[in-house]
Symmetry: C2
Subunit: 376 residues, 2 copies
């Protein structure tokens, strides 16, 4: 199988680029002296997860218990489920642990901690729990200076659970676009997480793990004193949002959607392609960034950027390709019916999720189908 | 299995509402004296497609050849693949026809028509082809007054293909929000499609089918003289975009995403839930409509609307639920950890696509899992 034999639309992974991305992150983590625990929610794809582990990652991060189950079936034991657990999911977490999975779960409230303790005691299970810390106000977690931090830790520790550590995710890093700002945010993520851990330890409770990370802060971090591990996900493929944030050149984006030109509207300068939002996702993450790429940047089938062409609109199975600025009234000659293009995505996590599998393009030009996990 | 036993997030279909939606559309089409051919891209789900056919639909519309293959395997023969065909997909279309599928394909250019003729002749296959007509400038198709319309018809007819008819989709109907505007657009869709058919017939070529449709224009149409069939998709479930367009009350939306509260940020008035964009999709179709519902409108587990709560933000597996306007600082008491909510989606087609299956809630409260087709 090769590129020419693929049906369209298809999600292509450039394996050489992917391997360089994995190598770059792992080397940075090694240089900073911390463990690296990739977040597999970006790809949910066994060969990619195995490549991350082979390059030196220690354990994985998941966003669903389905990912944990699928990865445990691959032989991966060290897994953190990095979303605050719903009490109704504890039975499923227990089943994984009983099978030998070293699954860590997360809480950021007394109510959740109490539910874990009650369930753990009822089933004689000492769950390992990490407490989520809020380092930038973007979503979940406890303020490191909030009294609730110690209250949650106390409930878990006194309730017989294993208080494994703290974790944080500087998700607001996606809103920045300068290296200096990312360096400052990385330091904020580090210092606030370490502060939370120190408060727990000062109160006489254990807190071995200090786990932080997002792709921009992980790559920007200059020192990680007190941190034991970093998590990041999208770095493995990169995308246009990350390009706008400033962490990767266009040439490092390892995911693209292969599509075929199926029509034109000459007066409007449109080519119509057979990849719409079903293939690209509805993610418009670059809409509020310094450059809006519509639904994606158009490349030729060989990966070259032919000029300033974007997927400017998308319906379910139709994409509209047009030139930024003045319409290209010769688009019918430039991209005739049957032309195959590759669209770089705004957000690799969202685009990948639309596809049952990646088509992995090896350096020798051969193609392998790499299935993704789907659902919850 | 019942609602209480479901894992979250889950895509719930209220079967009673769905059946009423199917019945309403079919009765309207019967009253207008046209065939109805549902677009199954919305649900890609066998039990739903079968319910549409049992209610009186004649044939189906698909957006991918995968849908055609899956539906043909269910015993459905009369299928139109309503996306201009890429020449490289003709072999797959041929395989379906050779197995006995009455598959119709679509073209809107001389280049595509020539490719169909060349492939058809090479394989001794008389493809049935419909010509796509542009009735509102929103995407694909030929202007009914364009010379190219007759040129395409001539290539197909003289090349030995079966010129089956014309089809159009007034996709711009999603941009309106008054009944009068929709009535006018429905008439425009009708009259321009009929005009295209008449031009082809006047030139001495056959054009039996005049196929039009979108959910808003289908429901608004007052007369359909000259039209032989209507296509529509999202009407079967409806959603918040359609509500803003004005075609359905909130109480007819048959799709919701079941989710569990996993945390809070009290000062911000946020509840965090375990449905993010992976469960809702990234579709923000209401963003530019008269009411922006964020990522969806919050209902209680029983379907009641508890007030003006939206999913105001979404990460991959986290949703942020908050009150419109002033923050609800008592949200932790209102929706405690473990509370289950149902989120009405912006766009049923996009939300459904995020899920491997629907959980169908029957009128007696029992739940059946209804798988969806996935991929291309």
């Amino acid at each position: 199988m090769n590129l020419e034999s693929l049906n369209t639309p298809a999600a292509l992974v450039d394996v050489a680029r992917m391997n360089r991305n994995i190598e770059r992150m792992q080397q940075h983590m090694n240089a900073l002296g911390v463990n690296f625990r990739p977040h597999i929610k970006t790809t949910k794809c066994a060969p990619i997860v195995m490549a991350q582990l082979e390059a030196g990652a220690r354990g994985i991060t998941v966003s669903t218990l389905k990912e944990a189950e699928q990865c445990f079936a691959l032989g991966i034991r060290d897994i953190v489920y990095a979303v605050g657990i719903a009490p109704a999911k504890l039975a499923r977490a227990l089943a994984l642990r009983r099978q030998g999975c070293d699954l860590k779960i997360v809480a950021d409230s007394v109510a959740c901690a109490e539910a874990i303790v009650a369930f753990g005691r009822r089933h004689d299970e000492r769950f390992e729990v990490w407490i989520e810390v809020d380092v930038d106000g973007h979503r979940s977690g406890l303020d490191p200076d909030d009294d609730a931090l110690l209250a949650v830790a106390t409930v878990l520790a006194s309730g017989g659970m294993q208080l494994g550590g703290v974790m944080a995710h500087a998700g607001s890093s996606y809103d920045y676009d300068t290296h200096d700002a990312l360096v400052r945010l990385a330091e904020q993520e580090r210092s606030r997480s370490v502060r939370a851990a120190e408060r727990i330890r000062s109160a006489g409770m254990p807190c071995d793990v200090v786990s932080i990370g997002s792709t921009p802060t992980a790559l920007a971090a200059e020192r990680l004193d007190g941190v034991t591990e970093v998590r990041a996900g999208v770095y493995v493929l990169f995308d246009l949002v990350m390009h706008n944030v400033g962490v990767n050149p266009m040439s490092e984006i390892a995911l693209s959607v292969l599509t075929t030109v199926i029509g034109h509207q000459r007066e409007k300068g449109w080519a119509i392609v057979d990849a719409g939002w079903m293939a690209m996702s509805r993610d418009r993450g670059t809409q509020r960034q310094k450059r809006d790429f519509g639904y994606g940047l158009v490349c030729l089938e060989n990966g070259e950027v032919p000029g300033d062409y974007l997927m400017s609109g998308a319906n379910q199975e139709h994409g509209i390709v047009s030139r930024s600025g003045a319409p290209d009234h010769e688009i019918e000659q430039r991209f005739p019916i049957g032309t195959r293009l590759r669209i770089l995505p705004n957000h690799a996590c969202a685009t990948g999720a639309q596809h049952p599998a990646y088509q992995a393009i090896k350096p020798d030009g051969s193609v392998e189908t790499w299935p993704r996990f789907h659902g919850w």
